[in-house]
C-alpha cells in the first residue's frame, strides 16, 4: 500500500546529543583502512587547521541513520523496514565532524513516493553541534522494495 503523502514535511524532534569519541573515529578509520593521520593524530589534524582529530566524511552517517530510524520506525508511517534498501546518500558539510563534538540530528521527511510498487522515502538530517552551529546535512533515500505476490 502506498505511503501516506501527508508525512511529507514532517520534522521529528532533535535526537539526544551524540558525543564523538576520539577512539570511535580511530576505530572507523581502521575499519575502512584509511591511514590519514588527520583521523588519529591531533598534531597532524592541527597542522591542517583543525582544533582536534576529524572524522572521515562518511562517519556521520552512523549518527544520522540512527536518527532516521526513528522516522522509518514511525508506526504511523507504516514502512516495511525489512524490505528497505539504501538508494542514495548525500552529505553537505559546513565543517568536518571532530572529536569532542556533541551532535544532535533533526530529521525531516522530504519526499514520499511510490514507484512500481516500491515505496521511496527521502529523509534529511540536519546535524548541529552543542553551540547550535550547523555541521553537516545528510540526505538519505530509502527504498522499500515491493513485496512479492503471495
Amino acid at each position: 500500500m502506498a505511503l501516506d503523502q501527508s508525512f511529507v514535511g514532517r520534522t521529528y524532534p532533535p535526537t539526544e546529543p551524540y558525543e564523538v569519541g576520539r577512539e570511535k573515529i580511530r576505530e572507523f578509520a581502521e575499519a575502512v583502512g584509511d591511514a590519514n593521520p588527520a583521523y588519529t593524530d591531533q598534531e597532524a589534524a592541527k597542522a591542517l587547521g583543525h582544533p582536534d582529530v576529524i572524522a572521515p566524511p562518511t562517519f556521520v552517517f552512523a549518527i544520522t541513520f540512527k536518527a532516521a530510524r526513528q522516522v522509518v520506525a514511525d508506526p504511523q508511517l507504516g514502512l516495511d523496514y525489512s524490505r528497505v534498501v539504501h538508494g542514495d546518500q548525500k552529505f553537505a558539510y559546513r565543517r568536518p565532524v571532530r572529536a569532542g563534538d556533541r551532535l544532535t540530528v533533526t530529521s525531516t521527511i522530504e519526499a514520499v513516493k511510490s514507484m512500481a510498487g516500491n515505496d521511496i522515502l527521502d529523509v534529511r538530517g540536519e546535524v548541529h553541534d552543542e553551540a547550535g552551529e550547523h555541521v553537516v546535512t545528510a540526505w538519505t533515500k530509502l527504498v522499500a522494495r515491493a513485496a512479492e505476490e503471495a
Partner: protein, 142 residues
C-alpha cells in the same frame, strides 16, 4: 582547512590517482562494528541468500567511504570535502574466501566551481560492474 592541491594547478579533466580497495568478510565484520550497521546481509550468507542476494554484500556506506578516499588522499585534508553524494546502483558481492572482492575507484575533475572548489566525479566498480552512480564530491582546494 589546508588542501595540498592548488586550485590554479587543476583543470577540468585532471585525473586523480586511481586506487583499488580490498574487502573481505573480515573487513565487513570490522565495518559493521565500527559503523553500528549489523544488518545480516553484510555477514550472514544464509540470510543474504534467503532475501534474494547472490551472497553477502558490502555495506553501501563502506563502498562510499572507500570511494571518497581517492579525493581525500589527493587533497590531503579530508576536511576539505564540501559535498559528497552517491547512488547505490549494484551491490559489492563479497565471497567467503581469502580474496574477497575489490573496489576500483577513479576520479576526474568535472568542473571548476566558485570559491576555490572543484567537482570531482568518481567511478567505482567491482567485478567489472559499476557499483556507485552519480558519485560526486565537491572539494575546496588551496
Amino acid at each position: 582547512m589546508t588542501a595540498q592541491i592548488a586550485y590554479a594547478d587543476v583543470e577540468v579533466g585532471t585525473e586523480l590517482p586511481a586506487q583499488t580497495f580490498p574487502v573481505t568478510r573480515a573487513t565487513l565484520v570490522q565495518y559493521a562494528g565500527a559503523s553500528g550497521d549489523f544488518n545480516p546481509i553484510h555477514w550472514n550468507e544464509k540470510f543474504a541468500k534467503e532475501v534474494g542476494l547472490p551472497d553477502v554484500i558490502a555495506h553501501g556506506m563502506f563502498t562510499m567511504a572507500e570511494a571518497i578516499r581517492v579525493v581525500t588522499d589527493w587533497v590531503g585534508d579530508p576536511g576539505a570535502v564540501v559535498e559528497y553524494g552517491v547512488r547505490f546502483t549494484k551491490p559489492v558481492v563479497v565471497p567467503n574466501d581469502d580474496q574477497g572482492a575489490t573496489i576500483e575507484v577513479s576520479g576526474k575533475v568535472a568542473a571548476k566551481l566558485d570559491d576555490n572548489t572543484v567537482r570531482v566525479d568518481l567511478t567505482a566498480t567491482s567485478a567489472g560492474q559499476k557499483v556507485l552512480g552519480m558519485s560526486r564530491a565537491v572539494v575546496r582546494l588551496a
